[in-house]
């Protein structure tokens, strides 16, 4: 190379640079927008963090809202020493975990049946599952009131004002969507894989547990994350169906106990919201690696 450029007598300039130049510009632009969006979306949680570290007096003072003059952990101490906050947290945790387990058990089995066992009406049923997801919960809670009243009159079981009622309620939102995700995932598994299992002597249940669940693990984890997030952040149903302080879940608990009349205890509200957002964040961080891993690689033709 060096000899050639000397021989030609001209300073050598690589002519193959345009591709990498294009790439460099594309990268610069994507970084620009990524940073822009990151700032935009990180602003609220940072504001929450800053506010949670201030005293009430400093929050109400007309100072720079982004600056803390006297940082304090008093809001955290106050909130965590209140027994009721821990009750909200416990209620939310039990409800969310139970909802995740219930949802995944129903939707994995339902999705397997709908995706693989071709039976009469299976395609219509699969679409139907998705359509139920499209009905907003704001339309559902009034009929649900009616149903709860009927259950109370007929069987004498009071479903109103219990945190555990949420375990039956939330799956109406999570099961359709989780099932839909899983149908898509199972449908992407090559048909030959279950045929091979069938010939190998596996029953439908063994095909599901030994082949489909391991292969579709990324999809199952995606559905789990989704279900947990929905269950943890659900606001409308607990607001409508629970009233006693001991029966509240975290999102509703923070709002109803820390806003007294028109007095907003901003410091503690922000602290509660921040602590409440922690579990989903931790779960995301742990499961993301699985979520991205492509497990189906190598099943069939490479």
């Amino acid at each position: 190379m060096a000899d050639a450029s000397i021989a030609s007598g001209a300073p050598s300039r690589p002519k193959y640079g345009s591709m990498s130049r294009d790439r460099a510009w594309a990268l610069r632009w994507s970084y620009f927008f990524l940073v822009l969006f990151a700032i935009f979306f990180l602003m609220p949680p940072i504001y929450m963090l800053i506010t949670s570290l201030k005293t009430s007096a400093e929050i109400s003072a007309a100072a720079n809202p982004w600056w803390i003059s006297n940082p304090t952990l008093q809001n955290y101490i106050d909130l965590l020493s209140q027994n009721q906050f821990l009750v909200f947290f416990r209620n939310s945790a039990i409800v969310s975990i139970c909802v995740v387990i219930l949802t995944m058990m129903i939707s994995v089995i339902a999705a397997f049946a709908l995706a693989r066992m071709k039976f009469w009406g299976s395609a219509t049923l699969a679409t139907g599952v998705f359509l139920t997801y499209l009905i907003p919960e704001t339309l559902l809670f009034i009929p649900l009131f009616k149903m709860f009243a009927w259950v109370n009159e007929t069987f004498g079981i009071q479903l109103m004002n219990h945190w555990w009622t949420m375990i039956i309620l939330y799956p109406t939102l999570t099961v359709p969507f989780a099932t839909w995700i899983m149908i898509g995932y199972f449908a992407s598994i090559p048909k030959e894989l279950d045929e091979a299992a069938l010939i190998d002597g596996a029953t439908w249940m063994q095909t599901l547990t030994k082949i489909f669940i391991p292969v579709a693990l990324p999809g199952i984890i995606a559905a789990t994350i989704f279900t947990f997030t929905v269950a943890w952040a659900q606001f409308l149903y607990p607001l409508a169906f629970t009233t006693s302080t001991s029966e509240l879940v975290l999102p509703v608990g923070i709002i109803t106990t820390l806003i007294k009349g028109d007095v907003f205890n901003w410091g503690q509200i922000m602290t509660g919201a921040l602590l409440g957002a922690a579990p989903p964040l931790i779960i995301y961080a742990f499961l993301m690696d699985y979520y991205i891993a492509g497990l189906t690689a190598g099943a069939t033709k490479g």
């Binding site: 091979a196 299992a197 069938l198 190998d200 596996a202 082949i211 190598g298 099943a299 490479g302």
Partner: protein, 366 residues
């Protein structure tokens, strides 16, 4: 070890008949290849034998027992799929032992069988690998290993080589043949590649449009095809079909291609062909190797003719020449040193002793 019998087997998808009542007897330890163009019903037939498709009519028996309503796992078969269908989350050992584990086979028996199969297929050092760490050929071996381990009555292969590149395909073809010589098990093999069919099969079953066109040894199909379809499907380059008429002139039978070109019919065919004199829709079928360059010595039934060559394709050991008769392209195989050149006339020789006369109306070879 078992024979497989198909009696009037029908497969209907809604209103479409995929398989139209086929009869087939596969003897014990035989290597049968089902071959045909896509959509001919060969894969459907194989899947019906496997039990992956329900049959709409007729009977399928394996080892003398009708298995119409027997689920796949109880048919004692093993299948190798086109895309291998290896379980991606299991390593090679687990893939091969999965079926035996489900059958609750003792661990030491599983281990012995897996290692034996791995040895036959030369994949012992791959046993700990996951499918995605294997090449296409290795995956194909593992898929075969999974079948061998189960020691089934029947092996079913569904186009197992079509995902491999050309070189590997030839290599694996030999491999499959070797394995069948070592592990003599009744085998049904589906392919659309007639070369694979010819090289592997004890008997070839040519299917077309849901029916069996012909069953026979590779040589039978090649030299005595029963129908125009078989004649055209088996052999590469394909057999030439030229419209012709059969005429009786001065006591001798001749095939007349056009005003300029006619050949006397070989004496041993005269009696067979005489009833068809004057019939419309007749075709002369002649394989490319029976059209050659002219030679000093003339064998019986060989006749020279002059032809303008359109295209010349040198293949190394032979040269293919293409010319046009009655508006159809005709291919001949000549010696590379015969001096064939495009757009030049050439003296060619037709060997009529291997001719076929075809009724184009019925598609039958007369």
């Amino acid at each position: 070890m078992a024979q497989v019998t198909l009696r009037k087997v029908v497969k209907k998808y809604d209103e479409v008949l995929a398989v139209r009542g086929i009869d087939l007897d596969i003897t014990d330890k035989e290597f049968i290849v089902l071959v045909g163009p896509s959509g001919c019903g060969k894969s459907t037939t194989l899947r019906m034998i496997a039990g992956l498709e329900e049959i709409s009519g007729g009977d399928i028996a394996i080892g003398g027992h009708v298995v119409n309503d027997v689920p796949p796992k109880d048919r004692d078969i093993a299948m190798v799929f086109q895309n291998y269908a290896l379980y991606p989350h299991m390593n090679v050992y687990e893939n091969m032992s999965f079926g035996l584990k489900l059958k609750k086979t003792p661990k030491d028996v599983i281990d012995q069988r897996v290692r034996q199969a791995a040895q036959i297929l030369d994949i012992t050092e791959l046993l700990d690998r996951k499918p995605k760490q294997l090449s296409g050929g290795q995956r194909q071996r593992v898929a075969m290993g999974r079948a061998i381990v189960r020691d089934p009555k029947v092996f079913l292969f569904d186009e197992p080589l079509s995902n491999l590149d050309a070189k590997l395909r030839v290599q694996m073809r030999t491999e499959i043949k070797k394995v069948h010589q070592k592990v003599r098990t009744t085998t049904v093999y589906v392919t659309h590649d007639q070369v694979e069919a010819m090289t592997l099969a004890d008997r070839v079953v040519v299917m077309n449009g849901g029916i069996i066109e012909q069953v026979g040894s590779p040589n039978d199909l090649y030299h005595s095809p029963a129908t125009k379809f078989v004649a055209g499907f088996i052999g590469s380059p394909a057999m030439n079909f030229i419209t012709c008429q059969l005429e009786q002139a001065a006591g001798a039978l001749r095939v007349r291609l056009n005003d300029a070109l006619s050949f006397p019919v070989p004496a041993d065919r005269t009696a067979r062909y005489t009833p068809h004199v004057g019939k419309p829709n007749l075709m002369l079928g002649l394989r490319p190797e029976h059209i050659m360059e002219t030679r000093p010595h003339t064998e019986p039934n060989q006749h020279d003719f002059d032809m303008l060559i359109d295209v010349v394709e040198p293949m190394g050991m032979e040269t293919l020449v293409y010319f046009t008769v009655n508006g159809r392209e005709v291919c001949g195989r000549v010696n590379p040193n015969a001096g064939a050149e495009p757009a030049r006339p050439m003296k060619l020789r037709a060997d009529l002793s291997n001719m076929h006369l075809i009724d184009d109306g019925t598609g039958k070879v007369l």
